[in-house]
């Protein structure tokens, strides 16, 4: 077994555009579930709208990259409003069912051949980050061509630009969430998580607060999708339901009702994924385990599932959470 390359690949997982994108989405989920108590199982749908919104705005409407990103965010706000108006008056578990279904609807809308001209159907969309008229995301890259960094953290100028952009977005996102949650607004949101009726009885418009929380978390989800789209193609195969559960796992790993938890949880989760992928395929190739390489890569998800179960049973508050503040099983 080549431990050198396993270690190298695992370390690479610490800082990748994927990790950044999923950290942003996990922050959105922290807003939804950790702070406002909204059981959103459709975060992949918000990411899809962000990513596709950006790509479609650039490819079909010819908008510059920053306007395309705003378009994607705008799309997620509309989606949150449409989702929230009929469902936020209901109990939390209904929202869970509706969100998981609507995320699938979104994905299938992008998959259907009816809109192939705009969505690219199963092939998805690509080539929207570099544009001949100079209005693409990579055209705005301030880094000259070359190789940066050292060891496992070696990046070309394109990846470096994506990482820089992603880190800026993540830092801004973390700061805004922190600023919101320490304010009286955040206090009301946490109160709603505990008991809506009590908050209503104190004269707060609970529906409006829940809607604001849903929209804000949705924008974070969309930003995750956009950061993802700045380095990869968007396709319906990315924004599947299992993506939602990966983000849930990252969130619970770090601690749902915390600010840094979702970020650290995502980094750990994707680093662990990178480690397992490498180790398991090495193990399969070297014949230690009697499985094929394909089976080995599936085994990774089995282990993730087991890990999630152990996490929820033995450390439901996550790494950073206060056990008293939020446990997955109340």
């Amino acid at each position: 077994m080549d431990w050198g390359s396993i270690l190298n690949n695992t370390l690479q997982g610490l800082l990748t555009p994927t990790t950044l994108a999923f950290s942003l989405a996990a922050l959105g989920l922290a807003m939804h579930f950790g702070f406002a108590g909204l059981l959103n199982f459709g975060i992949a749908g918000f990411m899809a709208i962000g990513g596709y919104g950006y790509a479609i705005a650039v490819l079909t409407f010819g908008l510059p990259w920053w306007a395309g990103m705003l378009f994607g965010i705008f799309g997620s706000i509309i989606f949150a409003l449409i989702l929230g108006i009929p469902t936020l008056r209901l109990r939390g578990d209904y929202l869970a069912i509706v969100t998981i279904a609507s995320a699938e609807i979104i994905r299938l809308l992008f998959l259907t051949t009816a809109f192939t001209d705009v969505t690219g159907s199963a092939d998805g969309l690509f080539g929207f980050n570099t544009r001949t008229d100079g209005s693409g995301f990579q055209n705005a890259n301030p880094f000259p061509a070359g190789s940066y960094g050292a060891g496992p953290f070696t990046y070309n100028e394109q990846t470096l630009w994506v990482l820089t952009f992603g880190i800026i977005m993540l830092v801004v996102g973390v700061f805004l969430l922190w600023a919101l949650m320490r304010s009286p607004w955040g206090r009301v949101i946490k109160g709603i998580r505990e008991d809506e009726d009590a908050i209503r009885a104190l004269g707060k418009n609970v529906f409006a607060y829940k809607m604001q929380a849903l929209v804000i978390g949705g924008v974070y989800g969309a930003m995750g999708g956009i950061v993802y789209a700045t380095f990869a193609n968007v396709s319906p195969g990315v924004f599947v339901t299992s993506l939602t559960f990966f983000i849930w796992t990252s969130l619970l790993l770090g601690g749902a009702a915390t600010i840094l938890g979702p970020v650290v949880g995502s980094v750990l989760f994707w680093t662990l994924q990178a480690f397992l992928t490498n180790v398991l395929s090495e193990v399969a190739i070297s014949g230690i385990l009697p499985v094929s390489t394909t089976q080995a890569s599936t085994l990774r998800f089995v282990l993730v599932g087991v890990g999630l179960m152990l996490l929820v049973i033995y450390r439901p508050q996550g790494i950073f959470g206060d056990k008293k503040e939020l446990t997955f099983v109340k």
Partner: protein, 297 residues
């Protein structure tokens, strides 16, 4: 029996005979034709009800009489099939619950709703009205709300020390005992500066010593010019602190009046109190011999 000094009762609250739906001299809450059915069951059917201002009104009645449903209807937590009601002349019909609370009519719940995973102080601060920092945009600018938040904290600490919860301010509300949660819920309701406080079974599950302090707090509300409407099953408490009693049975108001007279009415005894209300439980069941005042068994 509570044999300490009797609190000052408000009397002469009504106009005409003390009958169900009678007019009050100075009503704060007026309700008309409130009807609520759940399928075939008529939960509440109140023709007319006036709650006297700056007095303590008790709402009593057997289980299932519709007291809590009436509470829910009057506070906007549930909507009636028919009916209109108003607080100090402002119509509350169809007004959502949070606006009802903003208008000064605040309630507590039968099953205490302390926000367990918020600290006691955070619970209290949530009660304050008109907080600038509670709007999304100004929440991001602490300069806009920090001063107000400090003022709210001072007010919250005053209330907490009155309710003897100030030492617990940084504890999660979940760590409080049942009785302390009742106190916290009442204190939190007072943070909204209400004019009408509606308490749903404030004494349920509270030990006798704490009952006494809760009673004093309720009486304090009246002293400070608030009006209290409460649901309670403890008849000693009702006699002790209520200025006016409204009796409900099967959704209707069956009697109204000052506590001393209303509890002697045959309709009230039949519907609610039962004929053994003043006799010892042992005597009722016949299982225990009661030692009378003279000392003979």
């Amino acid at each position: 029996m509570l044999n300490n000094e009797s609190p000052q009762k408000s009397t002469d609250l009504h106009i005409g005979a003390a009958a169900p739906g009678c007019k009050k001299k100075d009503p704060i809450l007026v309700a008309d034709h409130i009807k609520k059915t759940f399928g075939g069951l008529t939960a509440v059917d109140v023709e007319h009800l006036e709650v006297p201002k700056n007095a303590i009104t008790a709402l009593i009645g057997p289980n299932g009489a519709g007291k809590t449903t009436l509470f829910n209807l009057l506070t906007g937590f549930d909507s009636p099939d028919t009916g209109t009601w108003s607080l100090m002349g402002n119509s509350l019909s169809g007004v959502p619950s949070f606006k009802v609370a903003q208008m000064g009519q605040v309630r507590t719940f039968q099953l205490t709703k302390a926000l367990g995973l918020l600290t006691v102080l955070e619970n209290m601060k949530l009660g304050a009205k008109g907080q600038k920092g509670e709007s999304l945009l100004s929440a991001l600018l602490p300069a806009l709300w920090r001063k107000q938040d400090k003022e709210i904290e001072v007010k919250a600490m005053e209330l907490l020390s009155r309710f003897k919860l100030d030492a617990k301010k940084d504890d999660f509300a979940a760590s409080l005992s049942g009785g302390q949660r009742k106190l916290l819920e009442m204190a939190r309701a007072l943070m909204t500066d209400p004019v009408l406080v509606m308490l749903d079974e404030p004494m349920a599950g509270v030990n006798p010593a704490l009952t006494q302090s809760l009673l004093d707090h309720v009486l304090d509300l009246k002293k400070q010019g608030m009006t209290v409407l409460f649901v309670e099953h403890d008849m000693h408490m009702v006699r002790h602190i209520a200025d006016w009693v409204v009796v409900m049975a099967e959704g209707k108001i069956v009697a109204e009046g000052p506590p001393d007279t209303v509890m002697k009415e045959q309709a009230v005894i039949d519907a609610y109190l039962g004929s053994h209300q003043d006799t010892d439980l042992g005597e009722v069941t016949g299982r225990i011999k009661i030692i009378k005042d003279g000392g003979q068994a």
